[in-house]
């Protein structure tokens, strides 16, 4: 059993679920949960079996690898690799996939087989993106996840689903083709200079590029990743897609799809074009800070609950992007934690929004209010995830944001200070959400059941993960550490500034002896 099964399992599971959907509507759910659970278990066992961190040197961080030829004439291989970074994201994918199936248990009543086929195909594509080490393969999976996602939105979505799904598709497709141009440019430049025409990531890594080439190719890649992430000003597909998608769709969009953009930045953009990234890093950081604040400001003014949550994603992913452009161990590890925790916290908020919509048949916050009295359990969960999303210390998101800011401060104090004001902005929107939905006077006509055992369990598990990461992120950080260190080496050395100022040389008291290398 190797890494390719991580892709095959959801694929096969999806097809089986589809077939099973002809017999009953329960079968697809069970098959999906079972196969995702198998994927989760397999990833976890890979995690468990992976050699300890000390045994792996930076740069050779692959826990598992798979490589076979695919289209030899063009130098295309089926090359997969799993390192700590992809491992975490694959774990997240399977976990949120299960959550997605569970939370749509009652929501999706029609064509469950086809629904689960699409759901599983999206997950297949996402896992593929996280594992691909061949640029063509990467692009293949990158595009592959669009179609099933499109179906999820356009078939099971809400009122404006047609508009939202097409917008989503066109944005990502156009930017994806720009990335393809970048990939091909790199392919030919590498081929001409070395005579080896290949799409293999590991071989393309050291390609010599002139500054002009590097910049343009980098922009091609950046287009795709910036749209997916999304970075302001390429974000406007997101609120529509997120708010119109069914719950599982929103969950996967926010929890996973956005991460593929961030993953692309980390895995491909910076290592492939270190010099170009170095030259635009400040622009990138400013854009990230702008995204943090702009997303938050828009989130603050929304009336539609899901739209609000969608805009918070833009803000949160701004932190991820900031961490990536700051490109040092602190900020990158922060970005990784932020990616994982954002998956949980925002995913859970979407689950809550889905539950509310299923019961109230509206997403307008003006129709809500005072729900604490009606559904205290749900309100408590809402409070928890709202607090996670405003970066409360002790919860995972805080670790992410703090590390990102701490790392980016080394690069630019001013941008970091500006980004840090996002902490204020996140308080504004999170608390407004609480106020509009759960606090305030209770409307007399509002009656509904509190969340049931299934829903409570899902949310409680997600909450527990956030708390654990918040208080003891060690396992996560150690998993991604070799990968991150290896990646940092691939970046431009001038990207990573020295750790600290004048005091760096002399270690302090015994308490900090180990922390200073």
């Amino acid at each position: 059993m190797t890494v390719e099964w991580l892709i095959l399992i959801p694929l096969i599971g999806g097809v089986l679920a589809w077939i099973g959907g002809r017999r009953s509507s329960l079968l697809p759910r069970l098959i999906s949960v079972a196969s995702l659970g198998a994927g989760l278990a397999m990833t976890a066992s890979l995690w468990n079996a992976s050699p300890p961190v000390a045994g792996r040197t930076a740069g050779q961080a692959w826990i598992a690898e798979f490589n076979t030829s695919w289209i030899p004439q063009l130098g295309i291989g089926f090359h997969l690799g799993l390192d700590g970074l992809s491992l975490l994201l694959v774990l997240l994918t399977f976990f949120l996939g299960i959550v997605g199936v569970l939370c749509s248990w009652n929501e999706i009543k029609e064509r469950t087989g086809f629904f689960h086929l699409n759901l599983m195909l999206v997950l297949t594509g996402i896992v593929g993106v996280f594992l691909s080490l061949d640029l063509f393969l990467f692009y293949f999976f990158w595009e592959l996840m669009l179609v099933p996602m499109y179906f999820l939105i356009s078939i099971w979505g809400h009122e404006k689903r047609a508009y939202a799904s097409v917008k989503f598709f066109i944005f990502t497709q156009l930017s994806g083709i720009l990335m393809l141009l970048g990939i091909l440019g790199l392919y030919f430049i590498h081929g001409r200079s070395t005579g080896i025409y290949t799409f293999d990531y590991t071989q393309l890594l050291g390609t010599r590029l002139t500054p002009g080439q590097s910049l343009w190719l980098m922009l091609g890649f950046a287009a795709a990743f910036a749209v997916k992430l999304p970075a302001v000003p390429f974000h406007s597909w997101l609120p529509d897609a997120h708010s119109e998608a069914p719950t599982a769709g929103s969950l996967i969009l926010a929890g996973l799809l956005l991460k593929t953009g961030a993953y692309g930045f980390i895995r491909f953009l910076v290592p492939l074009f270190p010099d170009a990234v170095e030259s635009v890093r400040l622009i990138g950081m400013v854009l990230s800070a702008a995204g943090i604040l702009y997303g938050a400001a828009l989130a603050f003014s929304q009336e539609d609950l899901k739209r609000l949550i969608a805009y918070t994603s833009i803000s949160h992913m701004g932190f991820v992007m900031l961490g990536i452009f700051a490109w040092n161990e602190l900020s990158l590890q922060g970005a990784v934690i932020q990616m994982v925790c954002h998956g949980f916290s925002t995913g859970a908020l979407f689950v809550l929004a889905g539950i509310l919509q299923a019961r109230l048949h509206t997403r307008e916050m003006s129709a809500m209010g005072g729900l604490w009295a009606v559904t205290p359990r749900m309100a408590g969960m809402g409070l928890f995830f709202g607090l996670a999303s405003l970066g409360l210390p002790g919860l995972g998101n805080f670790i992410g944001e703090f590390l990102v800011l701490l790392g980016s401060y080394r690069v630019s104090g001013l941008v970091t200070a500006a980004a840090a004001t996002g902490l204020i902005a996140s308080a504004l929107y999170s608390l407004r959400l609480m106020q509009r939905v759960f606090h305030g006077p209770k409307r007399d006509d509002l009656t509904m059941a509190d969340i049931a055992v299934r829903e409570t369990t899902i949310l409680a598990v997600m909450a527990a993960v956030i708390v654990v990461i918040g208080l003891y992120p060690g396992p996560v950080l150690e998993t991604s550490k070799p990968a991150v260190e290896g990646l940092i080496q691939k970046g431009n050395p001038s990207l990573t500034p020295p750790g600290r100022g004048p005091g760096a040389v002399k270690p302090g008291g015994e308490s900090s002896g180990e922390m200073l290398r």
């Binding site: 009295a373 408590g380 104090g413 204020i424 750790g499 100022g501 008291g509 922390m515």
Partner: protein
């Protein structure tokens, strides 16, 4: 025994966890017991540890590492606890006062829904504050720091059905978060430049690497100060505190006396080395403190809401502590923090009893003559007022305030002006404090009030009253050094203030301060007991009215902020609700549609036109091929 240190923050947090998970299913008595008991146990543990201090002396430090929080590169904060004299004082006050407030709450909240929620939040509040003061690195401190902010939000908005409460709660959280963000940036700066966030080590390195008055030290100190200002409700971030009265009264007592607002004072005292490296910032602290104590005192004087009076009073009293910190009188600030904790908790709990007795009436002018019906409340409240007013010799507030005033005069960083502001503040304090007392408890009995509350509520009042008096003992001179006991106790952590001039006219200062306190009391007596008409008349004049309005609204800060920040922000977000950037993409789509229709015009279906198209195309093609 020192191994028990972790229990101090753990107990309340455990209580919180139990109450959150199972609270709604527990009977009220169990809930109350858990909530109060956990804090009580923490208090017991802290007293046990305090006993150790008594034996070992001032430089005694207890540390305990719980676990490595995270470790990334050279950044590896741990969860570890650090108890020295400074944190011990804080811990004792927090746990003891916290315990009394919890005890009081059992009675106060007995008819409220959300009983377990209340105790859960209160426990978390105390727990966060304990984490804050016991943290040995700034990240853990920040954890507690934000934790108290969160709890204040939760508790201020405890009665969530009233949107106004929700507004006040959010205001408190957001405004303090402005400070918190500055603090966070300060942390980034410190770590980037000094490579650690362990407080002790940080202080050593700062001292070793940064010359006094260096730019970076000033920036770092200023950022930490901004954080402290936000939490401690000092100018210009004080506006959240008066509104924070929306929460149940025990919450106010907890925020004002034992937790939250004193966090800023603690932070500055804890990182005082940094501030001594940044003289301009330290001066700023003193000036902010002086200005705050005057402005807030004047505002307190005109409030009608009993809790608002006390809220402004808190701002003003914290101003005294800032003044002390600003002149380098670190231990004086801590001393005043301690006495203030006792008498302010007492005053709030007393006010709570009054409010309960008046069926949730807050307006003091609708009260009156409560003296006879509520004797316990009255007498304890009197002690609290006296202590707040720093009436000479019998109250602890007198000693702590006197120490501050003395050092404001004589310290190297002090000045006559700072002293004068302090004295003026003392007069104002006394004036508004006794106004409150006279209006509420004296005069005609205007309404039918209930009598004193039950024992669970009066007992804390009595204990706190006793502490308000007894805390003065800490001012007794230590025979060995001649310094006051509290100064001596803290001397291992907080250095003594540098005295500018040894020949301080101590007696003279004492006299003036005492006169200010007593004068204020007498003035209140005149205005509110003997000639109440006169005070009313004064307000009725035109000048009086506008001054009154200015003071009543807390010097108009809220309006300025509304105009300057909140208004424009709301306006911008509202007009941009649909995201103007989307217009670009919508525009692209629209243009595609336009082109579609324009091109569609060529599809006429007529053969002659199509043939013409071929001809035209041929001309163009040949044109390009041959002539270009």
């Amino acid at each position: 025994m020192t191994d028990l240190l972790w229990l101090i923050p753990f107990m309340p947090i455990a209580g919180f966890t139990v109450l959150v998970l199972a609270g709604s299913r527990l009977p009220r008595s169990v809930t109350g017991t858990i909530g109060t008991g956990t804090v009580g146990l923490s208090a017991v543990v802290s007293m046990l540890l305090a006993a150790g201090f008594g034996v070992k002396g001032d430089g005694y430090v207890v540390t305990q590492t719980l676990w490595q929080w995270l470790s990334v590169g050279d950044f590896s904060p741990r969860f570890s606890l650090y108890l020295d004299a400074l944190s011990l004082v804080m811990v004792l006050v927090i746990t003891c006062v916290g315990f009394l407030i919890h005890l009081y709450s059992i009675g106060f909240m007995k008819n409220e829904e959300g009983y377990s929620r209340f105790f859960a939040y209160m426990n978390l509040f105390v727990g966060s504050m304990l984490v804050l003061v016991l943290a040995d690195n700034l990240v853990s401190l920040y954890l507690g720091w934000e934790g108290v902010g969160l709890c204040s939000y939760l508790l201020i908005g405890f009665w969530y059905r009233d949107s106004a409460n929700g507004y006040a709660a959010r205001k408190a959280f957001v405004i303090t978060r402005v400070g918190d963000t500055a603090l966070a940036v300060g942390l980034f700066l410190l770590f980037t430049n000094l490579g650690t966030l362990q407080i002790q080590e940080l202080m050593q390195r700062a001292q070793a690497e940064w010359p006094a008055g260096s730019k970076i030290a000033v920036i770092a100190a200023a950022l930490l100060l901004a954080g402290a200002i936000g939490k401690s409700a000092q100018l210009p971030l004080q506006t959240w505190l008066p509104d924070a009265m929306a929460g149940p009264t025990p919450v106010s007592a907890l925020i004002h006396a034992a937790t939250m607002v004193t966090a800023g004072v603690y932070l500055i005292a804890r990182t005082h080395v940094l501030f001594t490296l940044a003289p301009p910032v330290q001066s700023a602290i003193a000036i902010i403190g002086a200005a705050t104590l005057l402005l807030a005192g004047l505002s307190a004087f005109v409030q009608r809401d009993i809790k608002r009076v006390l809220a402004y009073s808190t701002i003003s009293q914290i101003g005294y502590m800032f003044l002390a910190l600003g002149v380098g009188a670190w231990s004086a600030a801590l001393f005043h923090f301690m006495t203030h904790a006792f008498f302010k908790a007492l005053l709030f709990l007393g006010a709570g009893a009054v409010i309960l007795a008046m069926d949730h009436e807050h307006d003091i002018f609708k009260m009156g003559g409560l003296r006879s019906r509520m004797p316990v409340t009255f007498w304890t409240f009197l002690i609290g007022v006296a202590s707040l007013s720093a009436l000479p010799f019998v109250t602890s507030g007198f000693y702590s305030k006197d120490l501050i005033l003395k050092l404001a005069w004589s310290s190297e960083r002090g000045s006559v002006w700072l002293w004068a502001a302090g004295v003026a503040g003392a007069f104002i304090t006394s004036l508004y404090a006794f106004r409150l007392l006279f209006v509420v408890f004296f005069g005609d009995r205007l309404t039918r009030a209930k009598s004193d509350p039950g024992i669970s509520m009066t007992a804390p009042l009595v204990v706190l009253a006793a502490l308000s008096v007894a805390a003065g003992l800490a001012a007794l001179p230590e025979p060995a050094s001649g310094r006051q006991a509290i100064q001596q106790f803290l001397s291992g952590v907080l250095p003594a203030a540098h005295i500018r001039d040894e020949r301080t006219p101590e007696l003279f200062l004492l006299l003036i301060a005492s006169c200010a306190s007593i004068g204020g009391m007498l003035a209140a007596w005149l205005l509110y007991v003997l000639f109440p008409r006169y005070a009313e008349g004064l307000v009725q004049t035109r000048a009086g009215r506008s001054v009154h309005r200015l003071l009543f609204t807390g010097w108009g800060f809220d309006r300025i902020y509304d105009r300057l920040f909140a208004g424009p922000f709301l306006w911008l977000t509202r007009i941009n609700r649909d995201d103007f950037i989307d217009l670009v993409y919508e525009g692209a789509a629209w243009y595609s549609g336009v082109f579609h229709h324009l091109l569609g015009l060529t599809q006429t279906g007529k053969v002659r036109w199509y043939a013409f198209g071929i001809g035209l195309g041929a001309i163009i093609t040949i044109g390009i091929a041959v002539f270009l």
